[in-house]
């Protein structure tokens, strides 16, 4: 096990993690927003660095763990979510990653897959939540009206939920699953292709500790 010092450990864009945050990558600890947002920043940065050749990571946009919370309450307008994408055309992205915190006890992951015209939802505890699809469709509609002044074209768009999504077999690994879902999605994988499951979690926690400390994603295919 790596030695974890206290204080600032790593910086990626505007995101930072302290020793107290990455301590949570030790076995059986719950993850917090800082670890997940840092991992999201690393995924975004890798995507921005790479080209657009076959096999390269997709063009990714990442909304932090507070986005969905704001979308639910106080909602798009009052939270001024239109400002979140002021400098980016989300409709031109391949995938938009949206980690979701549920009741301060569970992490899940949504994705607006622009490339495949799907609203995706991944839950390592296997619960499909219709409300997530509704909220994100509402977001797309409002964002389209705000930025393009036209209705969002929902034709051919599907709600995606896969039985193949890897599942956790305990009450603490969901945050690690969410980070791995995001990382795999950003490389264009479908749930059927996700190359990890519960057995890999102790190793992935150690690997994430290393990745965050070194600010470098290893990824399964590299």
């Amino acid at each position: 096990m790596l030695h974890i010092r206290s204080g600032l450990v790593s910086t990626c864009g505007r995101e930072q993690v302290q020793g107290e945050d990455i301590q949570r990558l030790r076995p059986a600890q719950w993850l917090n927003d800082e670890v997940i947002n840092f991992y999201g920043a690393m995924i975004t940065e890798r995507a921005a660095r790479q080209g657009r050749e076959q096999g390269d990571p997709l063009d990714v946009h990442y909304f932090n763990t507070f986005f969905y919370e704001k979308l639910v309450n106080p909602g798009y307008e009052k939270a001024r979510l239109n400002k979140w994408s002021k400098k980016v055309d989300i409709f031109s992205k391949d995938v938009i990653l949206i980690p979701i915190n549920l009741g301060n006890s569970h992490w899940t992951c949504a994705c607006i897959n622009v490339r495949r015209k799907r609203i995706e939802y991944y839950d390592s505890l296997g619960t499909r939540r219709e409300v997530v699809y509704q909220r994100l469709r509402e977001y797309l509609q409002r964002e389209s009206l705000d930025k393009k002044k036209i209705d969002f074209e929902f034709e051919d768009w599907e709600d995606y939920f896969s039985e193949a999504t890897p599942q956790q077999e305990n009450a603490y690994d969901c945050g690690v699953f969410v980070c791995q879902f995001m990382e795999a999605i950003s490389r264009g994988e479908d749930a059927e292709e996700f190359a990890f499951d519960q057995r890999n979690m102790p190793y992935i926690r150690r690997r994430m500790l290393w990745e965050i400390s070194e600010k470098r994603l290893i990824g399964w295919k590299q």
């Binding site: 505007r14 993850l31 917090n32 927003d33 932090n64 919370e69 001024r80 945050g175």
Partner: protein, 103 residues
């Protein structure tokens, strides 16, 4: 013995109305759930004080609130100038408590 008067100079209130924002300063509204806090700061002043005062007001431990502007995380040493805040409309910072999850 000289008469030592206690320092009764009134402290400037932490919250103030828009009308009272002094010249050269910008009003920032910090929103935390249902609560709002207003500050007048110079475009070149670091946010540290704003963050610390907000944390005190809500009895949060120092450094535990997360502050965002337009979805971008803010750091204590940053300034309005540095983040290129749009000053032609109200400047709103959103403060959040830590989120955790496992099961």
């Amino acid at each position: 013995m000289p008469d030592v008067k206690p320092d009764i100079k009134e402290r400037k209130p932490a919250t103030q109305d828009e009308s009272e924002v002094p010249d050269g300063k910008v009003q920032i509204t910090v929103i935390l759930g249902e609560q709002t806090f207003k500050y007048a700061v110079k475009p070149t002043t670091a946010f540290k004080k704003v963050f610390e005062t907000t944390e005190k007001q809500v009895a949060a431990s120092p450094g535990t609130l997360r502050f965002h502007y337009n979805g971008q995380r803010l750091r204590p040493q940053q300034t309005l100038e540095e983040i290129e805040a749009e000053l032609d409309e109200p400047v709103e910072f959103h403060a959040q408590l830590e989120q955790i999850g496992g099961a």
